[in-house]
Symmetry: C2
Subunit: 281 residues, 2 copies
Amino acid sequence: METRELRYFVTVAEESHVGRAAERLGMAQPPLSRAIGQLERRLGADLFVRTPRGVTLTNAGETLLREGRAALAAIEAAERRTRRTAEAADRASLVLTAKAGASSELMVKLLDAYAAEPDAVDVEVVLSPPGHQAQMLRDGRADVAILHRPFDDMSGFEVDVLTVEEQVLILPAGHPSSTVTSMTVAEATSIPDLPTPRWPRLDGSYPDGPGPELRDLTQVLQLVRLGRTALVLPESARAYLRDGLAVVPLSDAAQVTTVIAWPPHSTSTAVAGLVRTAGRL
Amino acid sequence: METRELRYFVTVAEESHVGRAAERLGMAQPPLSRAIGQLERRLGADLFVRTPRGVTLTNAGETLLREGRAALAAIEAAERRTRRTAEAADRASLVLTAKAGASSELMVKLLDAYAAEPDAVDVEVVLSPPGHQAQMLRDGRADVAILHRPFDDMSGFEVDVLTVEEQVLILPAGHPSSTVTSMTVAEATSIPDLPTPRWPRLDGSYPDGPGPELRDLTQVLQLVRLGRTALVLPESARAYLRDGLAVVPLSDAAQVTTVIAWPPHSTSTAVAGLVRTAGRL
DNA sequence: GAGACCGATACCGCGGAGGTATGACCCCAG
DNA sequence: CTGGGGTCATACCTCCGCGGTATCGGTCTC
């Protein structure tokens, strides 16, 4: 199976529509139809059911979509890492990715400690929207990532646990609920006049719901201060607290584990050094 | 990057020789040279240094070999799993791979327990040489594997620990060393008249050394009985002991962890069921 | 039943992958 | 120092196959 075929297949699967997929791929519809047909014949498996409105995935198609995306990411990663190895032949460097606006205290400590190491290399920090870190690690745009269990999917990576923390509810100071000493998650997310905010999905779209749409932590904390929303955050977010915000511990929230993650088979001594430093924090 | 280019590259890297690689690929040498050259230009990285005796990998080439092999395995896995999903549309089945001749007691218990589950599917057990299990899982020939830490590389898999055990030295009954109550690994591997046996590498070749070459457990136990060798095994190997063999505990050997491993993103309910059963043992 | 929409088929043209022949370079033998 | 063997690169040709256009067959809608 060639990566071209795989890219075609994934695009068609994503669009559920051969014509639109062809457009996205910058080609005409007939050759795309033909390519899909050939792939199906070679695999000996129907990948799509053709309907008058478009195409839908079969079970085999679902499998190929899932596995194929992973394979494409692996190929991208191979390409990118090869390029980076070639460029960085003279001076080594390292790309670390983390969720924008989170763990900054930890990150500062980590980067300072690592920079003090004798064999430290330059660390480029890439802050990206929540949920994108794992993908960046998978396709080679990053060498190391700071991930958070249970939010990020860290399957396929090597990980070292950095911190484990509880979660708390952040709500406007002066709100009636701000005086209670503890709360359950169910109670926290059902305060009538404080709807849960909505974070963007991986594709940038927002789920439906009553809460405000938001993009970063400073923004949402301002909305909390204005009495428009309340949200559950790891307790390290206390570091961001200013006037106008109150904190209520949650009795039954899942623990948040912050880990440092890197791709398997990473032979980079720089990655090893950063991980070792992180483990000593 | 197309998988064809990647396959070419990996073959050349493995042979360190364009001509032989071309032969293995069933093609002529010039187009292969050209393909490698194109790949290098597209990646903007030298992958090989050309020498009068053949080619050797650059650092960038090492990276592409490592990452490229993983990517090719991912593509193979995607293909195989898609085919299997299509075939198994009617009756689901499952391929489990384990080291030939090891953990059989555990395996019997696991398979029996799983077969008794209400939603159990057929489990095909593939026993393969030590070290091959992880590769089979990576390229889709197997759905689940029994692996052993620290011997197998389980990076990239989801795992559940099944058992943890100590290691012991197996040696001929009546041998002078067989009467001691404990020993270190260093002592165990340096008994003058009992050289450590040599196991085949992944490619089937054997490392150099004085000990006998061997292929399976029954064979090696017979050699031990004949006073030709002694070896370190997990203590569960006591189950295989017959007359003529003695066991000495080791004070400093690494613990052996037996795990059940499966590929990430496995959506198969059958895999989930088997893992759940294993967790209850 | 006409039209819109969708994927599949038929047919054509061209880029690129692979083949053969040969060149450029290095190494060693004599 | 020179010739021959070995290695990878280049030149040139052929042909397969990928992508393009035109069109068909089937289905849903109005």
